[in-house]
């Protein structure tokens, strides 16, 4: 797979490691009543679709940026690559 890095251009996927579902950006609030259940679901349960999947990749052997990649798990086609920082900021986070 070739990952079209927003800053560096096309890079070999071998330079990256995959963390998994991009939902891992949205950490639950630890102060809520059901925080234990929420953290269980956050840490251990995964959407695991056959088709379009948004996931976090780390450019470990490159600029060490985190990316959110929209990829098809049936064909390995990559539709969109964003900086995870931009995705988090768009969702209202400060960084």
């Amino acid at each position: 797979m070739i990952i079209n890095h927003p800053l560096l251009g096309p890079r070999d996927a071998a330079e990256f490691t995959c963390l998994g579902d991009a939902g891992l950006i949205d950490r639950p609030d630890w102060q809520t009543e059901d925080a234990q259940q929420q953290f269980h679901d956050y840490l251990y349960l995964r959407d695991n679709p056959a088709g379009t999947h948004r996931e976090l990749w780390f450019h470990e052997q490159g600029d060490r940026s985190w990316l959110v990649i929209t990829r098809n798990t049936l064909t390995h086609q990559i539709d969109k690559v964003e900086l995870a920082r931009d995705v988090a900021k768009a969702a209202g986070r400060d960084r």
């Binding site: 695991n48 679709p49 056959a50």
Partner: protein
């Protein structure tokens, strides 16, 4: 029909006209006691043991394609029970014992060959870790032998003992480990189940569950609805897709593991050999091909193929322990999709929906577990309580903090 040497001789003399199809192709009935979803090794074994050991024969096995078309046909055929943790080791040892008696049990030649498995170690700390694992295995009734370098040199003179980066210091052997003809496992279980009245229904994809007031009453399929008292999901690789029909999210990601086979060679390997400093394992098939593999690709996928960086990594692992492999030409490579669970261990459990049961999360260790998985799943389905060796394979173990994490890497499926 009972298979025997005499039967082969008789059929040979009479023109081979007496052989019959190995299983029937029945139309689905409108209702069963148990529906097993997934006609792979585990699903067929579940149906077989339900009928044979637990007296439940009003059973259907529903398979999307043809039986054995999933991971039981795509693995590297290795059997072993060299685990360490108490939640795992007795289960895998039961599995190995069932493998040992399997061919007599289901009267089918599965070519079970206990040629041994050897895990190499490359440093003193690794030797200590392997000695500990060997002790844990022996406590659970398995066999384990710690070999030093001199013993290994006699057994496997071709290994690169003096490798500058990862010298081979010895190995942990399990002589009862080995390989099995993987397709024959599916066929043998299918035949045994069919003979006892189980309906094996191929080309029948489940695309929904009939859930009424929190109780599962049956399934929707491409061949119409079928009612059942109990529905047993057994579709490792596609678990998340099937359980999504019941609205459940699982502690599982789907990943691809690639495997490779070389051209046929004269016998060169005594058994299964694994690299201790990277991820590489190899055995030699009865046809002579070197069958080998390594790490999963590491990203979610349902495509039954991987990418080239992992091919390179696997071949580097092979060259590091046995440089002679570089002279063999690669014949074929393929990929299988597997359930990677959050702690690297499987599930055999009830679900939050009454009447719906789940078996999955086998990571890349499902093949060796086939007999015990089928036996323990059948036990759970027939008696509604887990078998004594499978009490830890619960879906709620993460909430309870009772993970079974052999590698100790946490909730990161692509590292298990």
């Amino acid at each position: 029909m009972q298979y025997s040497a005499l039967k082969i001789l008789w059929e040979g003399l009479t023109g081979n006209t007496g052989w019959k199809p190995v299983w029937r192709e029945p139309e689905p009935k409108s209702e069963y006691d148990v529906i097993v979803i997934g006609g792979g090794g585990h699903g067929l074994a579940t149906a077989y043991y339900l009928a044979k050991e637990f007296g439940v024969s009003n059973v259907a096995v529903l398979e999307k394609g043809w039986i054995g078309s999933g991971n039981v046909g795509r693995n590297t055929t290795i059997i072993r029970s060299n685990y360490m943790l108490p939640g795992n080791e007795p289960f895998y040892e039961l599995s190995l014992k069932l493998w040992e008696g399997l061919e007599q049990d289901f009267n089918y030649n599965a070519m079970v060959s206990q040629r041994g498995i050897l895990n190499l170690f490359h440093s003193d700390p690794q030797r200590d870790a392997f000695a500990r694992r060997g002790n844990a295995m022996r406590l659970a009734g398995a066999d384990a032998v710690l070999l030093d370098q001199d013993e290994l040199r006699k057994m496997c003179p071709f290994l690169d003992f003096d490798n500058a980066r990862f010298p081979i210091k010895g190995g942990l052997a399990q002589p009862r480990g080995g390989t099995v003809r993987h397709d024959a496992v599916a066929w043998g279980y299918a035949r045994g189940a069919d003979q006892r009245g189980v309906d094996i229904i191929q080309n029948c994809e489940v695309n929904g569950f009939q859930i009424e007031n929190g109780v599962c009453k049956g399934v929707e399929t491409t061949r119409g609805p079928i009612r059942a008292k109990k529905v047993a999901v057994c579709v490792a690789g596609s678990s998340s897709r099937v359980m999504a029909h019941a609205g459940m999210r699982l502690p599982i990601e789907s990943h691809v593991l690639q495997a490779f086979v070389s051209e046929g060679l004269k016998p060169v390997l005594p058994g299964v050999i694994t690299f201790g400093a990277g991820h590489f394992y190899v055995s030699q098939s009865d046809k002579g091909g070197l069958v080998f593999g390594g790490d999963i690709d590491g990203y979610n996928t349902y495509a039954q193929r991987g990418n080239l960086p992992v091919v390179e990594d696997v071949c580097e692992g092979g060259m590091a322990i046995m440089p002679m492999i570089g002279r063999a030409r690669l014949l074929r490579m393929w990929g299988g999709v597997m359930d990677m669970s959050m702690d690297g261990s499987p599930f055999i459990d009830r679900t939050s929906i009454d009447g719906l049961y789940f078996n999955g999360g086998w990571c890349y260790g499902g093949f060796k577990a086939t007999p015990a998985s089928g036996f323990c799943y059948a036990h759970l389905l027939a008696r509604d309580e887990p078998a004594s060796v499978a009490t830890e394979y619960r879906l709620d173990r993460f909430l309870r903090g009772a993970m079974i994490d052999e590698k100790g890497v946490g909730a990161q499926p692509n590292l298990h």
